[in-house]
């Protein structure tokens, strides 16, 4: 009894919705902190951070948890919405919902679906490029080797395993795993060529043709996220049973601030890159 209750009941779905939703809020904070380096840090630091995020095992674990949370949250949310529509097979001829509830609270599924579309688009724009694009440019790095400083960079139009540091062509170095520079004879790893996510990101939002529209769409997506959170943040606490007049003001106030500030800071990044960055 208890087991099936915690997995299948209406309330269990709510708990999972709330837990995954709150976990995603934490993810947003981490993701935001990383992305703000696009404004406040330089390319190298950002690219090192990007490398860390794609290789560190703890981060990997967290990122898998995030993917699972998004999937679970979305599937659970859509299942709930479908069930809820079935609970009223005949609609009212006349409805006046704004008399008793906030717009965002009634449109969580629509807002969530838009967020899902955004997440997929966003991952195609950056995540997939970072992970799978063979032509992903490498950031130029300087390496001291045998008493000399060399520029490592990537020639254009190179395919797999052909990232050749042009001025080192006959140096006896080779590149493995597309980003690692090895000493051919000693098999020593000498340097790492960072994938230049910074360059990709700036090129994306500064693109002469699509940069402006991309910026606008990203900003709109953050509005959508804001509305989702405006209801969602405090709602998750209620779902988990945390409703106490002593703390409700705090939860609601913090939720409102979170829902405005986090998406706003995210939105500033493409705006900054498109309009202000060099």
């Amino acid at each position: 009894m208890a087991k099936s209750a915690i997995l299948k009941s209406s309330l269990a779905k709510k708990y999972w919705m709330a837990l995954t939703g709150l976990f995603l809020c934490l993810f947003l904070v981490g993701h935001l902190a990383g992305n703000l380096q696009l404004i406040f840090s330089d390319a190298s630091h950002f690219n090192q951070y990007a490398l860390f995020m794609t290789t560190n095992p703890a981060v990997k674990l967290l990122s898998y948890l995030t993917y699972i949370s998004i999937l679970f949250h979305a599937v659970d949310g859509i299942m709930l919405t479908v069930q809820n529509r079935k609970a009223r097979p005949i609609r009212y001829a006349m409805e006046n919902p704004s008399a008793n509830s906030a717009w965002a609270s009634r449109n969580m599924a629509v807002l969530g679906t838009l967020i899902l579309v955004f997440i997929v688009t966003h991952m195609v724009n950056f995540w997939a490029v970072m992970h799978f694009d063979e032509k992903m440019p490498l950031e130029t790095v300087q390496v001291d080797y045998e008493g000399k400083t060399y520029d490592f960079y990537v020639t254009q139009n190179t395919g797999k395993d052909k990232y050749i540091p042009v001025d080192l062509e006959n140096s006896g170095l080779e590149i493995r795993n597309r980003t690692e520079f090895y000493d051919k004879t000693g098999n020593l790893k000498i340097a790492e060529g960072y994938k230049d996510l910074h360059k990709i990101t700036f090129a994306f939002f500064k693109d002469a043709k699509y940069g402006l529209i991309a910026t606008i769409l990203y900003v709109i997506a953050m509005f959508v996220l804001s509305f989702h959170l405006l209801h969602g943040f405090a709602s998750a606490f209620q779902s988990l049973g945390a409703n106490n007049p002593k703390y409700n003001g705090l939860i609601k106030g913090f939720g409102k601030a979170f829902s405005v500030i986090v998406p706003l800071l995210f939105a500033i990044i493409p705006i900054y890159i498109h309009f202000f960055a060099k």
Partner: protein
């Protein structure tokens, strides 16, 4: 021309012969409705007009007509119990409307509340939820314990009393965009969980009542808060949160 104390209205009322047949909205014109009359008295007036025209009167639920029994149940102009808060339909008065207003009157809409006839719905789903656990098992064969022998903190007693004010009208279900019954069930769970007498069976109660609620086909709360606004008895969302806590604790046991 109606005087200021009387108004003429257009009614759009859901008519449905029985549970099987399809219903539809019918339009009626009703003149000279006193703004002093209650909404149900206005419907009585309409029914007299219909009877005199040899038409079938509109069926609607009502009993006490003073806001305590929970029988009246009309969805008026898009709102459960009409355009006011903290009242039942029988406490709604025609002064809330203006001359020549069009007023939509519909039954509660919920899969778990099928229409029986016109505006009357079957709310026995609530009874079954109550029977699943909304009680305290007592053994009356022994000696009666003095009520004051079991101390109850004032704060808890007040919260339990507030929860117990629920009259089971179903407005929460009717107004909820999800057709969720969680305000009702939350109130019933809370009313017992807060008292020492009810704590004994709290675990089984919440599991059973929620299971029955799900089986009846009610929707799922998404915390829009519409129920709290429309509830004639001001039942608070805190009760849903308490049910959520109780259920979480009970299912982990």
């Amino acid at each position: 021309m109606a005087s200021s104390k009387f108004i003429n209205i257009n009614l759009k009322i859901w008519r449905q012969k029985n549970a099987k047949e399809k219903g539809k909205i019918e339009t009626y014109k009703l003149d000279n409705v006193s703004i002093e009359s209650s909404f149900l008295e206005m419907l009585d007036q309409l029914n007299e007009q219909l009877v005199s025209e040899r038409q079938e009167p509109v069926a609607f639920d009502h009993d006490c007509r003073e806001g305590i029994c929970g029988m009246c149940s009309l969805f008026i102009n898009g709102r459960a119990h009409g355009p006011d808060t903290g009242i039942t339909t029988c406490q709604l008065h025609m002064r809330m409307f203006k001359n020549n207003d069009t007023i939509y009157v519909e039954p509660w809409r919920s899969k778990a509340f099928p229409v029986i006839k016109d505006l009357v719905v079957d709310r026995t789903a609530f009874d079954r939820i109550q029977q699943a656990g909304g009680f305290v098992s007592v053994n009356t064969s022994g000696n009666t314990i003095d009520a004051n022998a079991t101390p109850v903190p004032k704060h808890d007693a007040d919260r339990a009393f507030e929860a117990a004010a629920c009259i089971g009208c179903g407005a929460c279900v009717a107004t909820c965009k999800n057709g969720s019954a969680m305000l009702f069930v939350g109130a019933k769970v809370s009313q017992y969980a807060l008292l020492p007498q009810g704590k004994v069976e709290a675990t089984q109660r919440v599991l059973n009542m929620v299971r029955q609620m799900d089986e009846e086909g009610f929707g799922n709360c998404t915390n829009t808060g519409a129920c709290e606004v429309e509830c004639p008895k001001g039942i608070s969302l805190e009760n849903i949160a308490r049910m959520n806590r109780e259920y979480l604790a009970a299912s982990l046991k």
